[in-house]
C-alpha cells in the first residue's frame, strides 16, 4: 500500500472532444437560465429576486457534490499511486471552493434585500461556509507542503476525512437551525420552480465537470514541465547540492 508514486509524465492532448463539451456545457447553462427566468412566475414575497435561486441553489448543490469527487479520486490515488489521481482530486477541490464562494456570494446578494442583512445563519448557507473552510484548509495544506509525495499522501488523508464530514456538518447545522428557528432560504420544492432548478442543476453539473477537466489539464502540463526539468537535471551535469 505504501509503494512509491507513479509519476505523471505526458501532458494531456487538448482534445477537441472536451472543447466541444465545454461549448455544450455553457450553452446549456444559458439555455437553462433563459427557460427558468421566462417560465417561472414571480414569487409572491420576493418578486423577481427569487430568480437568483436558479444560480444560487445549483451552485450549492455542486458544492456538495464536488467533495464527493475529491473523495473518489483521493481514494483512487491511494489505490493506484498515480499522480494523475492526486492532481484530479486537487482540481476538484479548487473548483469546489470556487462554487462554494459563488454560493455564499449569491446567498448574501439574496439575503440583503430579503431580510435586510448580509448574512443569515440558515442551514444551507452555513454548511456551505463550513465546507468552504474545509476546502480552504485542504488547499492551504497543498500550498504549504513542497515534497510532492508527501503532499499527495497528506492531501488524500485530509480530503477523505473532510469529505466524510460533509454530510455530518450539514446534518448538525440543520439541527442547530431548526432548534433555533432562524429565517431560511426559500423553499426549493414549490412545483413552479422545479423545472427551472432541475435544468440548471444539470447545466451547472456540465460546467463543473468541464472546469475540473481544464484545471486538471493545466496541472498535468505543469507536472510534465517539472518532470522534464528533473529529467534534464539527472542526465545533465551537477544540480545544486542539497545537504
Amino acid at each position: 500500500m505504501t509503494s512509491g508514486t507513479i509519476v505523471a509524465t505526458a501532458a494531456p492532448p487538448r482534445t477537441s472532444r472536451w472543447s466541444i463539451f465545454g461549448w455544450f456545457a455553457f450553452a446549456s447553462l444559458v439555455a437553462s437560465q433563459a427557460v427558468a427566468i421566462v417560465t417561472s412566475p414571480p414569487d409572491r414575497d420576493m418578486g423577481d429576486l427569487q430568480k437568483i435561486m436558479y444560480v444560487h441553489v445549483p451552485a450549492a448543490w455542486m458544492t456538495m457534490l464536488a467533495p464527493l469527487t475529491v473523495l473518489v479520486f483521493a481514494m483512487k490515488y491511494l489505490w493506484s499511486r498515480r499522480e494523475e489521481d492526486d492532481l484530479l482530486a486537487a482540481a476538484a477541490a479548487e473548483v469546489a471552493a470556487t462554487f462554494a464562494g459563488l454560493t455564499l456570494l449569491l446567498g448574501m446578494i439574496w439575503a440583503r434585500p430579503t431580510w435586510g442583512v448580509w448574512w443569515t445563519w440558515d442551514a444551507r448557507l452555513t454548511s456551505t461556509l463550513v465546507l468552504f473552510l474545509i476546502l480552504a484548509g485542504y488547499l492551504a495544506l497543498r500550498a504549504l507542503v513542497d515534497d510532492r509525495e508527501r503532499r499527495a499522501q497528506w492531501s488524500a488523508a485530509v480530503g477523505i476525512l473532510g469529505a466524510i464530514n460533509v454530510p455530518i456538518v450539514y446534518m448538525s447545522v440543520r439541527w442547530w437551525r431548526t432548534i433555533h428557528q432562524i429565517q431560511s432560504s426559500p423553499s426549493t420544492v414549490d412545483p413552479a420552480y422545479v423545472l427551472g432548478l432541475r435544468l440548471n442543476a444539470f447545466a451547472f453539473l456540465f460546467v463543473m465537470i468541464y472546469l475540473i477537466r481544464r484545471r486538471y489539464e493545466a496541472a498535468l502540463m505543469l507536472r510534465a514541465a517539472e518532470h522534464a526539468a528533473e529529467d534534464a537535471a539527472l542526465r545533465g551535469g551537477r544540480g545544486s547540492r542539497a545537504s
Binding site: 463550513v130 474545509i134 495544506l141 504549504l144 499522501q153 477523505i160 456538518v169 448538525s172 442547530w176
Partner: protein
C-alpha cells in the same frame, strides 16, 4: 500475540508522553494557563451582565478548550521532532497506527484534565448553576473531548511537520470540529438550562457517532500522514 504486542506499544508511547509531560510540565502548565486566560477574556468581552455571561458560558468554555487544545496537540509531536526521536519511533516494528493510539491516550488525559479545570472555572466565573443532570453533562464533555482529541492528534501529525504550523493546525482542525462544537455547546446549554426535552440526548448521539466515525477514519489514515 500480535495484538497484545501492538497494544503494549501503544501503552508504552502513552506512558512515555505522559511521563515526559509530568516531568517538564511545559505543555500542561501552558495549556491550562492559556485556557484560563481565554476564559477570563471571554468574561471581559461578554460581561459583566450576569444573564449574558451565563448564556455565553457553554460557548466560552468550549472555545477556550479548542484554542488551548491546539497548543497541546502540536506539543505532542514537538517532543518527537526536537531530538529527532520521530525517526527512531518509525523504525520500531509493528504498526505505526499505535503511535496514533498512544498519543491519543496521552492527549486525552491532558486535554480532559484541562477541560475539567475550565468547566470548573467557567461555572464559577460565569455564575452557572450546576444542574441536577450533571452526569449527563459529564457524558457530553467526555464525548466532545474525544472528538476534539481524535482529530487534533491526527491533524497535528502533519501540521507540526509543515511550514506555518501554528496557523495550519487551527485552519485544518476547526472547520472539521464544527459538528462537535455545535453539539457540545447546544447540549451543554440544554442541560444547564434544565431543558429536558431530549435535545441533549440527540446531541449526545450525534457526538458519539462523530467520535466513532472519526476514531476509525483517523486510525486507518494515520499511517499515511506519519510515514512520509
Amino acid at each position: 500475540m500480535a495484538l497484545r504486542d501492538e497494544w503494549r506499544r501503544a501503552r508504552a508511547i502513552a506512558w512515555k508522553d505522559l511521563t515526559a509531560e509530568r516531568r517538564s510540565k511545559a505543555a500542561f502548565n501552558s495549556v491550562i494557563a492559556l485556557a484560563v486566560t481565554i476564559l477570563v477574556m471571554f468574561g471581559f468581552a461578554l460581561g459583566p451582565d450576569a444573564q449574558a455571561i451565563r448564556d455565553a458560558a457553554p460557548g466560552a468554555i468550549w472555545l477556550a478548550a479548542l484554542f488551548a487544545g491546539v497548543l497541546a496537540f502540536n506539543r505532542s509531536y514537538q517532543m518527537e521532532l526536537d531530538g529527532g526521536a520521530l525517526e527512531q519511533l518509525l523504525l520500531y516494528p509493528g504498526s505505526r497506527r499505535m503511535i496514533f493510539a498512544g498519543k491519543l491516550l496521552a492527549n486525552f488525559a491532558l486535554v480532559a484534565s484541562m477541560l475539567a479545570i475550565v468547566v470548573a472555572l467557567g461555572i464559577v466565573l460565569f455564575q452557572v448553576r450546576i444542574p441536577a443532570e450533571w452526569p449527563a453533562l459529564v457524558a457530553i464533555l467526555f464525548f466532545g473531548c474525544v472528538g476534539l482529541v481524535t482529530l487534533g492528534t491526527f491533524y497535528a501529525a502533519l501540521a507540526s511537520r509543515s511550514r506555518a504550523r501554528e496557523v495550519l493546525l487551527p485552519l485544518l482542525l476547526f472547520p472539521m470540529l464544527v459538528p462537535v462544537l455545535i453539539a457540545a455547546v447546544d447540549a451543554t446549554k440544554a442541560l444547564l438550562g434544565g431543558n429536558l426535552l431530549g435535545d441533549a440526548g440527540a446531541w449526545a448521539r450525534l457526538l458519539a457517532a462523530f467520535d466513532i466515525i472519526f476514531l476509525v477514519a483517523s486510525f486507518l489514515a494515520f499511517e499515511l500522514v506519519i510515514e512520509v
